[in-house]
Symmetry: C2
Subunit: 324 residues, 2 copies
Amino acid sequence: MMKKPKGEFFIKIAVAGYGNLGKSIIGAVANFPDIELTGVFTRRDPKTITDARCSVFSFDDILNYKKQIDVLIITFGSSNDLEENTIRLAEHFNTVDSFDMHNRIGKYRERLNNVAGCGNHLSLVSTGWDPGLMSLARLYFASFMPYANVTSIWGEGVSQGHSEALRNIDGVKYAIQYTVPLAASREAAYRGEFVSAGELHKRVCYVVCEKNDRKRIAEQIKNTEGYFRGYETEIYFITEDEFFEKHTRLYHKGEVISVGKTGDNTQLATFSLKLDSNPDFTANILLASARAVDRLHKEGAVGAISIFDIPPRFFIHGEYGGML
Amino acid sequence: MMKKPKGEFFIKIAVAGYGNLGKSIIGAVANFPDIELTGVFTRRDPKTITDARCSVFSFDDILNYKKQIDVLIITFGSSNDLEENTIRLAEHFNTVDSFDMHNRIGKYRERLNNVAGCGNHLSLVSTGWDPGLMSLARLYFASFMPYANVTSIWGEGVSQGHSEALRNIDGVKYAIQYTVPLAASREAAYRGEFVSAGELHKRVCYVVCEKNDRKRIAEQIKNTEGYFRGYETEIYFITEDEFFEKHTRLYHKGEVISVGKTGDNTQLATFSLKLDSNPDFTANILLASARAVDRLHKEGAVGAISIFDIPPRFFIHGEYGGML
């Protein structure tokens, strides 16, 4: 592979959103020799952001930067307005996002496909570690082990999507959600038994309230569709001091296991992740995904795709034949 | 997904070779509702094969069956004449194989690409569990964790390629090779250190000789390029009785681990397999791969490809959106 000259041959990336994930992406760009960062686009006043190690622009001005952006990585929260923003921008930019509300991905992708297609752009939805790497494990295992049960297990660790869902509840000041796998159910899954996600996990929430309105907040949490309803959910109300002392680390774990029999033979495949920093891990996947989107778009692909549509080699930089 | 009528809409598969892998494929077809088996093609006298649960034809006649074969799965041994046979047949058939001599795959694929391309056919090389699923783990990990060390560990288990390499040595009647990971090296790899394949494994061989020629055979084993040279290799000469009593199970294990740091945070991804029957496991992967080849060929793809060129969704039967 030829070393490319610095400048116009690089893949030019921009990041929308300066939260945990946006910050991790800025830090991770150094791992990608073929990518350069145009800057971050924020909905806050750019002048108030002084710690960014890149240019900071106003999100309102993003359409003026079309020429400087090959792929836009959108990091807004899934339970907020990520969908609407991506759909609005997909006409003008190739996009990558890590939208994580599994039951809404299909509809979202359909709407995005029309917009991106009209604009001759390419949008990759829902890449990261889950959806993303764990999704790949689920699909490959189901394809290659049609005789097996495939089970996904998350935790113990912090779900950023669920934590954000907590913070979106009126009256919640700070909150974090730990997903905790239940040992007995996990063992059953390893024996090849079918176990539902609800049976496999409990959700443990630590919440700091604006004012004392615990009963209403607890009810609202337990009934949040797509996040908490159907799960054993524990809610602990704590002080702001305790929150910042004990609950700021964004670690997580996940595994996909596939167990089945061919005749009398047991076959087991497992994929697992143990992440000290979820946003750092996801950031690198988003950047490799942006690389794939740029390459596919240059080959003529338009519309909205998922990670299932991308030949693996599009993600890698440099020589890869030896990895077979 | 519509249920397809029995008959011409099925993907018609044939198997070349009636060894362990060929037999496992015949048994595995039942897991694939969109695939039907035309039969197995053997280089032995078809009349001598009475236990096959499908039609048995002479390999010499295979060109007469072009119309009944959408994809031909070639199961001959990698260290024998798999390459030459596939190259000869790729002009006439779409092919799938599990060629496993890693250092020769590039050259093999290049030659195959020309032949398959001329014949307007598509050949998928080197699919299975390694090369195959383990290769996918290596490539995705290297792409998504550019800050990490990626290490492959095999065993403890039976390498069919290495066992076959033993059996190809003049004077060897029966033989099996166990790949055994070395615990200290494995721990170092889990700490993120770079450890070579030679440092990670020893190779333990059990050999039954035709006649007493142990010294020459042992020398020849230790010097086999691509299989034993560069590895700690133990060789035990045993009797035929002991061989059939203790060494007929084709189990295997494998793992790909990826460990690295983002800042102060350690990130670990692992993929692992624990297989009671290696040929049964591989058989299902070959069938899902044949499905992908048929679909890609119908979309116009020709030439020789690897698993890295195939969008994951091509392997799966039926609805898969929910796996994201």
